[in-house]
């Protein structure tokens, strides 16, 4: 298709400049794209605006939506052009001329002067977020400043001022409490308002000094000053084991790795401490238990020594000075008592302490005396010898019989087997007769004493030694009260109907008091594994070091006692 184009360029004075060109191609095209026949840089014009094609003898104009052409004043996208038509395409006005021979389309092209006034709408609508007042930068800096100021600078400044953070809290502003990464343990809850009681200096880790501010007074109640763990407190941080602000919060770290840091190889970690054993896990490598047994009863020292001995030691016997057959007392058929035959149980003598952990001490008066009565004279069944020093017993007997002889009451037994008869009331007797009566009474008392000490009474339970005719020595009984002071064992938690005492203590078959009835580690391991409950230990209770042991050397540390905990919570 051949197109003849005449460009009309009107000068200022109205003179028209004409430039012509002849174009050959498939169609006459108009648009902003560079391949268009009539090209404009007007930004309002699409890349392809319109095209005119010769279809037979007709000239057809087509505009590509959304572009529109104006043909003879009419807006359209589709028109058949005639000679003389005026077509407005964007900024151009085209006039269709009579095409000369060999040319399909002849047009003049003139710029539309009126559209030069590219008047924008009076007020361009605000169609951008930035145009309607949304801003990023001011908000960014404001929020940055707000979080930094409220989260850090304000509490920091308040921290350095007297009562500053208290004032902030009163004003419901963020204070240094906003820095707390988690709740405090309930024992420390009272400190929650005063961060500075522990965090004494800025940028410095909590020191032992801060802990000791409150705990110095009671620390050595449960940690002996010379105890290895007490010494270690000086070189270690309390906070390395007692971590606060963590959830789940537990001030006592029960992880056994903490203990094994030192106890896995004590020779290396504690070279100065003698006799510390290697351990890795209760279930796998805990040594046999040692008992802390009172010893030296026989040596006659007033304060028997405590001996730490392995339960496995061959021939290990308790030397408490007591003779006591557990088996006879626990006889299933019963045992003779002043009230008739009775089947006894452990609890008849072993009375639990109030906390349920252990038992009250065994005492003659409390546990034995109700059966083992200290009567000596059938004539006066309510008279007993004192349960005390042997000399006092002898004296009590002499006093008793002197009284009786002087009172003139015949001693039935004495009368039966002796010619010594008392015929007169002592008050009426002559001094010589009274002296004889007293001599007889003393003789009688010594006979009874021998019987009491050596045959029917003391010797039942005690080791008795006769020193001379009038003196006996009775070995005192020193029962071990706490066999395993290094372990925290709760009897109340263990003694159930499923686990009677005999589960751990073979008392029913024990014939002598010297036999040690403390269970060895094997018994515990029936139910308890260590921290590792895998493999053969599957199904057992996981028990780490702290299940039984307290680090600070106490079986029942102060802070675990209900009364102390209450006081700690209330006060501090």
């Amino acid at each position: 298709m051949r197109t003849s184009i005449k460009f009309l360029n009107r000068g200022e004075g109205g003179a028209v400049e004409v430039s012509s060109r002849l174009h050959e191609g498939e169609a006459f095209t108009f648009g902003r794209a560079t391949d268009q026949v009539l090209q404009t840089n007007d930004s309002r014009v699409p890349l392809q605006h319109s095209r005119i094609v010769a279809s037979g003898r007709r000239l057809v104009l087509r505009s590509k939506a959304p572009a529109q052409a104006v043909v003879n004043g009419r807006t359209t996208r589709d028109a058949v052009l005639e000679v003389g038509d005026v077509v407005q395409l964007g900024p151009y006005v085209l006039r269709v001329l009579q095409a000369p021979e060999g040319v399909d389309l002849a047009i003049t092209v003139e710029e539309d002067r009126r559209s030069d006034a590219k008047a924008s709408p009076a007020a361009a609508p605000a169609l951008d977020l930035a145009g309607v007042g949304l801003r990023k930068r001011p908000w960014s800096w404001a929020l940055f400043a707000a979080t930094l100021f409220l989260g850090l600078l304000l509490p920091w400044a308040a921290r350095n001022a007297e009562n500053g953070n208290a004032l902030l809290r009163a004003a419901h502003l963020p204070s240094d409490r906003a820095w707390s990464s988690g709740p405090l343990h309930s024992a420390h809850a009272a400190l929650g308002q005063k961060c500075e009681s522990c965090h004494v200096r800025a940028f410095e880790q909590v020191t032992n000094g801060a802990c000791l501010d409150c705990h110095a007074a009671n620390l050595h109640q449960h940690v002996p000053a010379n105890h290895v763990s007490a010494v270690s407190l000086a070189t270690r941080e309390c906070t390395s084991c007692h971590v606060e602000h963590d959830e789940p919060g537990d001030l006592v770290n029960k992880d056994q790795r903490l203990c094994l840091d030192c106890h896995a190889d004590p020779k290396k970690s504690m070279p100065t401490v003698q006799g510390m054993q290697q351990i890795a896990d209760f279930g796998r490598s805990h040594p046999q238990f040692r008992v802390s047994m009172l010893d030296g009863v026989g040596a006659g020292s007033a304060q028997p020594a405590v001996q730490r001995v392995l339960l496995d030691t061959p021939g290990l016997r308790e030397r408490s000075g007591l003779k006591f057959p557990h088996d006879k007392h626990l006889d299933a058929k019963g045992i003779k008592t002043p009230d008739g035959k009775k089947v006894m149980g452990c609890g008849d003598c072993h009375v639990a302490t109030r906390d349920g952990h252990g038992f009250e001490p065994i005492k003659m008066e409390g546990q034995c005396a109700s059966c083992h009565k200290l009567e000596f004279d059938p004539a006066t069944p309510d008279r007993t010898v004192p349960h005390g020093k042997p000399a006092e017993v002898v004296q009590a007997l002499i006093d008793h019989y002197s009284g009786r002889y002087l009172a003139g009451y015949p001693d039935r037994q004495a009368a039966a087997d002796s010619s010594r008869t008392i015929s007169l009331p002592s008050l009426e007797a002559s001094p010589a007769a009274r002296a004889r009566m007293l001599g007889n009474a003393r003789e009688r008392a010594l006979v009874v004493a021998k019987d009491v000490f050596e045959r029917r009474m003391c010797a039942d339970c005690h080791v008795v030694e006769r020193v001379d005719r009038e003196e006996w020595r009775v070995q005192p009984v020193k029962l071990t009260q706490q066999w395993m002071p290094a372990a925290n064992f709760d009897h109340a938690a263990h003694g159930t109907s499923l686990t009677p005492c005999s589960t751990c203590h073979a008392a029913e078959k024990s014939r002598e008091a010297a036999e040690i009835l403390m269970p060895g580690i094997k018994v515990c391991r029936d139910c308890h594994a260590g921290g590792d409950t895998g493999g053969e230990h599957a199904g057992k209770l996981a028990s780490t070091c702290t299940t039984c042991h307290g680090f600070h050397g106490a079986t029942n540390p102060l802070w675990q006692q209900p009364a102390a905990r209450k006081a700690l919570r209330a006060g501090l």
């Binding site: 930004s43 309002r44 699409p46 890349l47 959304p66 529109q68 104006v70 004043g73 009419r74 807006t75 359209t76 009126r114 559209s115 590219k118 008047a119 924008s120 709408p121 009076a122 609508p125 605000a126 169609l127 951008d128 977020l129 930035a130 309607v132 007042g133 949304l134 990023k136 908000w139 960014s140 800096w141 929020l143 940055f144 400043a145 707000a146 979080t147 930094l148 100021f149 989260g151 850090l152 509490p155 920091w156 240094d176 409490r177 906003a178 820095w179 707390s180 990464s181 988690g182 961060c195 965090h199 800025a202 940028f203 410095e204 880790q205 963590d246 959830e247 770290n253 992880d255 790795r257």
Partner: protein, 293 residues
């Protein structure tokens, strides 16, 4: 050929981000600290340091995209890494917390970070969704061009209306002056057209009417067209109908375009300011942790 920032270099940063997550999760699972997991264990410090450095680097995208002369990687590469490593940050920072949260400056920093990452993810979705719709709606034109075209239509319509009775000029003029699109963030985002026009009624009284999508003026012109008995007048009114119909299409496209662009930009108005809030909280978090060690 165009390649999405998500596909950049065979999703290189997706794999790097995933690797970071996997390593962090495995380390967290393997790590058995003496205390409950928290930001203060060695792994906690490690994850925290990685997280803080990531945050600073992610923020640096705002600087990098403005330094046109920089040769420090392409901006597309930066955006790709920004998206994938930003998502990985969520895992790293969550593990850093040890799942311990509270009403404190530390959790504040975490929550702000989650907001930033969430808004960023929203932005990615918008970038996947809108550009195609946007260019098909624009069909090669800019918004300025479309506005200019509307201005031209109005000018032409006014010239035609000048040869018609006065109510026509009033209608066309007020239609031009009372076109109300955009104006508020909500109107832009909802593509609301609150335009009005003052039209003469049967009684000759001019009334202001709502004119969404040029409906009122087109209806009015349609009625006028039906009533016209004069051929010349009919031709002119018909031309006005054509012009206003074109105007409606253009206006709809403009409003739609503004909506598309606004949705494409909206998330940034959360993403950027909250990032700065996060930076403030992050400084407060890091400093306060060591201030009260």
């Amino acid at each position: 050929m165009h390649q999405s920032f998500l596909q950049y270099r065979g999703k290189r940063y997706l794999w790097i981000g995933l690797a970071l997550c996997v390593v962090a999760v495995l380390a967290y699972g393997w790590h058995a600290p003496l205390s409950p997991p928290n930001g203060g264990t060695w792994l906690g410090y490690t994850l925290g340091t990685i997280g803080a450095l990531l945050i600073l680097w992610l923020t640096a995208l705002g600087v990098r995209k403005r330094s046109y002369s920089s040769t420090l990687g392409t901006v597309q590469g930066w955006v790709s890494a920004h998206v994938y490593l930003g998502l990985a940050l969520l895992i790293v920072a969550t593990l850093h917390t040890g799942f311990q949260f509270g009403w404190n400056v530390h959790t504040l920093a975490y929550v702000l970070m989650v907001f930033v990452i969430g808004s960023g993810l929203f932005g990615v979705v918008m970038y996947l969704r809108f550009p195609e719709a946007m260019s098909s709606n624009r069909s090669g034109q800019t918004r300025a061009q479309m506005l200019q075209e509307i201005a031209d239509l109005d000018q032409r319509a006014l010239r035609i209306a000048a040869n018609l009775p006065a109510p026509f000029a009033e209608a066309i003029g007020s239609n031009r002056d009372r076109t109300a699109v955009g104006g508020s963030a909500l109107a832009i985002l909802r593509a609301t057209d609150a335009s009005q026009v003052s039209l003469a009624g049967e009684d000759g009284v001019v009334r202001l009417q709502a004119n969404p999508a040029q409906r009122a003026i087109l209806d009015w012109l349609g009625r006028e067209l039906a009533r016209s008995t004069d051929a010349e007048r009919t031709r002119r009114v018909d031309e006005l109908v054509n012009l206003m119909a074109a105007r409606r299409t253009l206006l709809r496209r403009i409003v739609q375009d503004a909506r598309n662009v606004a949705w494409l930009q909206l998330w940034l108005y959360v993403h950027v300011p909250v990032t700065f809030a996060l930076l403030g909280a992050l400084v407060a978090h890091v400093v306060s942790v060591f201030l009260y060690w």
